[in-house]
């Protein structure tokens, strides 16, 4: 349970110190989790109230508490639930997933004080056992390259809209198509430079609080991030330009032609 406590603490710290948010609901909700769920359980999930972690089967996956970004990811599902309220299907669901990867990665980066250039941008590093040919579950820097294993297959994440996957499984491929907004965030953060949580993370956090609908899609979200960047940093600012370039880099056209 210590690992889970550390991850809870690191997540609480990022939200409190950087975004002035008191726990996931903004009102100090006590954070809780269950570990060692079922036997050989290859998963970690958010049940609407708490986090639940499995120990992995030991063959493909080890403990799901091994990396703080996994814990940050699960708790951020709680933050999204209390803010944007995104549904868990198709593009809105992939955004929901991506927001969890973004802040999960920022929890890790913040706890190691890494700049955007220093960060690995990997999600779930250390989760695979040594048997698996792969470094992590997902890569925000290079979606689709996190693993390539004879048994598991290849990381299916697209980096751009050209690779968007239509499927009925996984609620419309929410864990696959999240690669697109994940990569957009990576492009924005590295475009701005410095610590990703300070500006890129702030823009994404502002967006979560600013007028999202449960069914907001990629283009709608992109427009809201641009509006948030413009509001905080000014029209024509380097930050707003980086947001525009980030979404353009993944093939998402910003509603309204990108004019702010």
């Amino acid at each position: 349970m210590n690992e889970a406590y550390d991850g809870l603490g690191a997540t609480f710290e990022l939200y409190a110190d950087v975004y002035d948010r008191n726990s996931i609901d903004g009102r100090g909700l006590p954070l809780d989790g269950s570990v060692h769920y079922e036997k050989d359980y290859d998963n970690a999930f958010w049940n609407g109230e708490r986090m639940v972690f499995g120990d992995g089967d030991g063959q493909v996956f080890g403990r799901f508490t091994v990396s703080v970004d996994v814990i940050g990811h699960e708790l951020t599902h709680g933050v999204t639930q209390y803010t944007a309220g995104l549904v868990y299907k198709d593009q809105a669901g992939a955004l929901n997933e991506s927001i969890s990867d973004v802040f999960g990665s920022l929890v890790l980066q913040y706890s190691h004080k890494q700049t955007a250039a220093q960060a690995t941008w990997l999600i779930g590093q250390g989760l695979f056992t040594a048997r698996v040919k792969g470094v992590a579950l997902r890569s925000m820097k290079a979606p689709g390259t996190a693993y390539d294993d004879p048994v598991l297959g290849k990381d299916p994440q697209p980096a751009t809209m050209a690779g968007y996957v239509e499927t009925e499984d996984d609620d419309g491929g929410v864990h696959t198509n999240s690669g697109i907004p994940n990569h957009a965030f990576y492009l924005v953060a590295t475009g701005i430079g410095g610590y990703a949580w300070e500006k890129a993370g702030r823009i994404w956090y502002d967006t979560l609080l600013a007028g999202m609908k449960p069914t907001t899609d990629f283009a709608g979200f992109a427009a809201l991030t641009l509006a948030a960047a413009t509001k905080r940093y000014g029209e024509g600012s380097a930050e707003a330009d980086a947001v525009r370039a980030g979404w353009s880099g993944v093939g998402v056209a910003i509603d309204g032609g990108g004019a702010s």
Partner: protein, 99 residues
């Protein structure tokens, strides 16, 4: 059992989860036992409750063909209990698996 002695095929696809890595199990029986047929018929096809709260939980797509009837359901992990759980356990145990 009136519906016994029919061909049976069941496919189970587990998708989603934090990892997003799908797994698939399948079983075929040219001459299935009555209890297989009874188990498939015991599942509440078409009456699966949604789970709108959970995130990163598995989704189970279950397709069964037995006694010339075709059934299909998408079952949230939270709802995989009773005969659903038994059916999935049995396909995982006795069927073939590919990741």
């Amino acid at each position: 059992m009136a519906a016994a002695r029919a061909e049976l095929s069941i496919v189970v696809v587990r998708s989603g989860g934090f990892t997003g890595i799908s797994r698939r199990w399948a079983i075929e029986r040219p001459d299935p036992d009555d209890d297989w047929v009874a188990l498939v018929e015991a599942c509440p096809w078409g009456q699966v409750a949604a789970d709108r709260e959970s995130r990163d939980r598995f989704t189970w797509r279950i397709e069964a063909r037995v006694a010339r009837r075709h059934h299909r359901a998408s079952v949230p992990d939270r709802e995989l209990t009773g005969p659903w759980r038994e059916l999935v356990d049995r396909v995982q145990r006795d069927g073939s698996s590919d990741v």
